[in-house]
């Protein structure tokens, strides 16, 4: 563990904390804990409830009696007790005979008086076994229920959820009375109910069973099931069973919600991938098998920007993605423009040849990336503000990075819709794709419009790659995994249709995730492919066919 005193903590300025990003989450949370504990040290002085006997009882003796003393002390908490328990948990307590000392760096402090004392040479570490450690964690969590920080309180409730010790009841009731945030208050109520379930009083158990019915937490289900096994009273048993049913119903809803969310998430990624294709294939009719590799370029551009920020702007590291988005777009767009000028323009009207040539491009781009960055996957980190998630129901948590990507996909979609339908460039693109000779007669430089349109589609592929780098691996094969899916989306949605692309992407994403829950990932993918093949039989023009008369469908 870390031995940090308030002086060293002072030097832990925010920038330094940023530098320590690569310390794992665990260590980071430890840092926070230590920080919190030393805030408590600062506050020492007001109350004097901590007695020398309590300290001794908590630090010396067999584990069982120490646990008891700990519980007793925690029932009437104040800052000093909290600080001492934190010190115990951080292995910062030493004993010398009957003397108990808190060690801070090279100094030793008497926990009762707060005075600095010389550290005896024969001081021994207090050994905490696993039982003691678990108890310390729980007590600390219970104490954290009174923290001023809402996040810490929420975390504390989560930690305590699995542990239904009746000794903690007064503490939780106290916290319940003091709690002002409604969401947390209801969670505390559930916690209280779970503890009450073990009470000897039948009325209390009944009341608790009723309260628990409102919970949507998987751990509540376990608690109910466990109680059901040992419950003798028929009335309570019935109440427990009805509660269990309602909890299960909530959980089932949660599962469905989770499937919809992960479907939306996959759909948003497919949408990003397919939006670029909707321009290059849907509008321009160019089969671009290198689309996946353009995404790969976007992802590697993100990686490069990350490296640049790490090296030159470590203080702004959290915001590297904001710079990576335009860079990824430009990198892919420039590559796309070069490809269009150099190769693809000579193949207009020959879709099968375009397919083969772009496949060749994709092979070369893959090998290029392998030569530059190596064949291994490279690591792209989530910024801090994208890690973590929102807890919606007991069993549903929405990760921030997925939420951000959904938002990003919507933004890209809107931006593209605006670009195509409202701007001059969009007008040109539509004009050229609908009737090239007439557009040309009107003075539109069709060749240039082609290049711009292709670069735009490629740039959006780069954006998709930038988004993908936040949720998946970045490697030379990144594009290969998505190319079949993305073509399916465009084919399903109908060529030349933005709306069709959107519906097809979201529909495929959600369908895939629901089938996954039912049959497993690989079979789901196969089922989706087979369904698409069958669907194309019925509607070869996709969901939203272009209206018109054409012998050549």
């Amino acid at each position: 563990m870390f031995f940090l005193n308030k002086h060293t903590l002072k030097t832990l300025s925010p920038t330094l904390m940023h530098k320590d990003r690569f310390i794992s989450h665990l260590t980071r949370s430890t840092l926070v804990r230590i920080f919190f504990a030393s805030i408590l040290y600062w506050c020492i002085g007001a109350a004097h409830a901590l007695t020398a006997e309590q300290v001794k009882a908590m630090a010396i003796g067999d584990t069982e009696s120490r646990v008891q003393a700990l519980a007793k002390a925690a029932a009437e908490p104040d800052e000093k007790i909290a600080a001492f328990i934190q010190a115990l948990a951080d292995d910062a307590v030493k004993t010398a005979g009957a003397q108990v000392l808190v060690v801070q760096g090279s100094r030793a402090i008497n926990p009762v008086t707060g005075a600095e004392v010389p550290l005896p040479a024969d001081a021994e570490d207090v050994i905490n076994n696993n039982l003691m450690r678990g108890e310390l964690d729980n007590v600390l969590a219970a104490l954290a229920l009174f923290s001023k920080d809402e996040k810490r309180r929420r975390q504390a409730i989560k930690t305590l959820a699995g542990d239904n010790d009746e000794a903690r009841l007064p503490l939780i009731e106290k916290a319940y009375a003091a709690e002002t945030v409604p969401a947390l208050k209801s969670q505390l109520e559930l916690l209280r109910a779970a503890i009450l379930l073990g009470s000897g009083d039948q009325a209390k158990r009944l009341q608790a069973a009723g309260l628990l019915a409102a919970s949507g937490d998987p751990s509540t289900k376990t608690v109910l099931l466990e109680r059901l096994k040992s419950e003798a009273d028929p009335q309570v048993k019935a109440a427990l069973q009805s509660s269990l049913r309602s909890v299960e119903a909530t959980l089932a809803w949660g599962d469905k919600l989770a499937a919809v969310f992960s479907g939306l998430s996959l759909g948003s990624i497919l949408l990003l991938v397919a939006l670029g294709l909707a321009i290059t294939y849907g509008l321009m009719g160019v089969i671009n098998m290198a689309h996946g590799e353009l995404m790969m370029i976007g992802a590697y551009a993100t990686y490069v920007v990350q490296g640049v920020f790490q090296k030159f702007l470590p203080g702004l590291f959290d915001w590297y993605l904001l710079a990576a988005v335009p860079v990824a777009f430009m990198a892919a767009a420039l590559m796309g423009a070069a490809l269009e000028r150099g190769i693809i323009r000579f193949l207009y009207g020959r879709p099968l040849e375009t397919l083969l040539a772009t496949w060749g491009i994709s092979l070369m781009l893959q090998q290029l990336v392998r030569s530059i960055f190596g064949a291994q996957n490279v690591g792209v980190e989530n910024p801090v503000w994208m890690s973590g998630g929102v807890q919606v129901l007991g069993n549903v948590s929405l990760p921030y990075n997925r939420l951000v990507i959904i938002g990003f996909a919507i933004a890209v979609l809107l931006g593209m819709a605006w670009l195509i339908s409202r701007t001059r460039l969009g007008l040109f693109v539509r004009g050229v794709t609908q009737n090239r000779p007439i557009a040309s007669c009107m003075g539109v430089n069709t060749a240039r419009v082609d290049t711009y349109a292709f670069a735009l589609g490629s740039g959006i592929a780069g954006l998709a790659g930038c988004a993908l780098s936040q949720v998946g691996n970045v490697g030379p094969d990144l594009g290969q995994g998505y190319i079949v899916d993305s073509f399916m989306v465009v084919v399903l949605g109908g060529v030349g249709q933005l709306a069709g692309t959107v519906y097809a992407a979201l529909g495929l994403g959600i369908l895939n995730k629901f089938l996954e829950g039912w049959t497993g990932a690989v079979l789901a993918k196969i089922a989706v492919l087979v369904l698409i093949i069958i669907f194309i039989q019925k509607r070869p023009q996709g969901i939203f066919a272009m209206k018109g008369r054409s012998a050549e469908a």
């Binding site: 099968l352 375009t354 040539a357 060749g360 491009i361 893959q366 090998q367 084919v491 196969i526 012998a551």
Partner: protein
């Protein structure tokens, strides 16, 4: 035309159209080249490989036999691809699937031929013992019989192609749509074969074959037999394809390629033509796969990856589409370059292949053979 209510003079009189008489199967030079190839495969190669001593400069190494045998299997695929793409205008990106199916059918037979010599000394193939299966799954029923295996090599790819092709062509899926869907098909099949519970050995596929028809498989004689067999199959398929494209059937195929709508307006239903050539092409690939597996000694789902299928197309394109000899030449050029480059400059191979794709589509629409014809024409 000759409707009775029409006044007789307002129409040009009906004239019967003389179809040009059928061209000979091969020209005189064609036949001589064919005979040369036949002699090379059936006599020269065995002589150089088996009769000449190892240290002779003209000795054909086992490596060369294996490599050429493999490439001849690929050439059959390229020929099949040419029939469906070069002559009918349908680009399939799923021919690797039929190749792999043929290979798997053969592989199942070869796995059964291992008998009790596997690592687990069981009558079941090793991977089934590993998965703790007690009996053969239903689709292994005929894997004991060589005759049944021969039938299945033709039947299974043919059936898969027929079902898929019927639905695809009936709803008039064509062009790039068809290509992408065939790619999805082989991709889905690959995922399926990667699964252990489908009973095809998962990602490891089949390997460690011991014998074929109760004869050891790794002897020089067996290698040479398989080599000759592959060569004969290739030559046979070549003659068959030649006969096919010169027949009326073949002409309709080319008409479909050039203007499908007009063919339909002339009263032909393209469905039957496309379906027939599609199934024939698939079966040829299946046979190639079945010849490939005993020579290479392994089959796994990687053969179904979309990349493999698309490579078949490039063999045909490099040699020259719509010329039957072109794809065979193309398969030899590309795979020869591959076996050399992947050893000598492994980094460079994908660049080369990529360049090949681009260069052939941009500069050589008629492939190497078109280039040769052009040079001859200008001289």
């Amino acid at each position: 035309m000759n409707h009775p209510s029409n006044p007789p003079n307002s129409l040009t009189p009906y004239q019967s159209v003389e179809l040009p008489s059928r061209a000979p199967l091969l020209s005189r030079t064609g036949w001589s080249f064919f005979m040369l190839a036949l002699i090379a495969v059936c006599a020269v190669a065995p002589l150089l490989n088996l009769w000449l001593p190892q240290d002779s400069p003209y000795h054909m190494s086992t490596y060369a036999v294996a490599l050429l045998g493999k490439i001849m299997c690929y050439a059959i695929c390229a020929l099949a691809m040419d029939l469906i793409w070069g002559y009918t205008g349908i680009l399939s990106l799923g021919h690797g699937l039929f190749f792999a199916i043929g290979g798997y059918v053969m592989g199942m037979y070869l796995m059964r031929q291992i008998g009790l010599d596997g690592n687990y000394k069981s009558t079941l193939p090793d991977f089934m013992v590993f998965l703790d299966w007690k009996e053969l799954p239903w689709h292994w029923t005929f894997s004991d019989s060589f005759i049944a295996t021969l039938f299945l090599i033709v039947l299974v790819p043919g059936l898969v192609a027929f079902v898929f092709g019927y639905f695809a062509f009936r709803s008039r899926i064509k062009g790039v749509y068809f290509s992408i869907i065939t790619q999805a098909l082989t991709f889905a099949a690959m995922l399926l074969f990667f699964r252990n519970e489908t009973g095809f050995g998962g990602n490891n596929g089949f390997t460690d074959f011991k014998r074929i028809l109760d004869l050891p498989i790794a002897t020089p004689n067996m290698r040479m037999t398989l080599f000759v067999l592959t060569g004969l199959t290739l030559l046979g398929f070549f003659l068959f394809a030649r006969w096919l494209v010169q027949s009326k059937f073949g002409r309709v195929l080319q008409a479909i390629r050039d203007a499908e709508t007009r063919v339909m307006f002339s009263g032909y239903n393209p469905l039957g033509y496309k379906l027939t050539i599609w199934v024939i092409s698939a079966v040829m690939c299946g046979v190639a796969g079945a010849l490939y597996v005993p020579q290479v000694g392994i089959i796994n789902p990687g053969e179904m990856s979309p990349a493999n299928s698309i490579e078949i197309a490039i063999w045909a394109a490099v040699g020259g589409r719509a010329t039957l000899i072109g794809p065979i030449v193309g398969a030899f050029i590309v795979n020869g370059a591959k076996s050399w480059l992947t050893v000598a400059y492994p980094e460079f191979w994908l660049y080369f292949l990529g360049m090949l794709f681009i260069a052939v589509t941009l500069f050589l629409p008629n492939g190497v053979l078109g280039l040769v014809k052009k040079w001859r024409g200008t001289k």
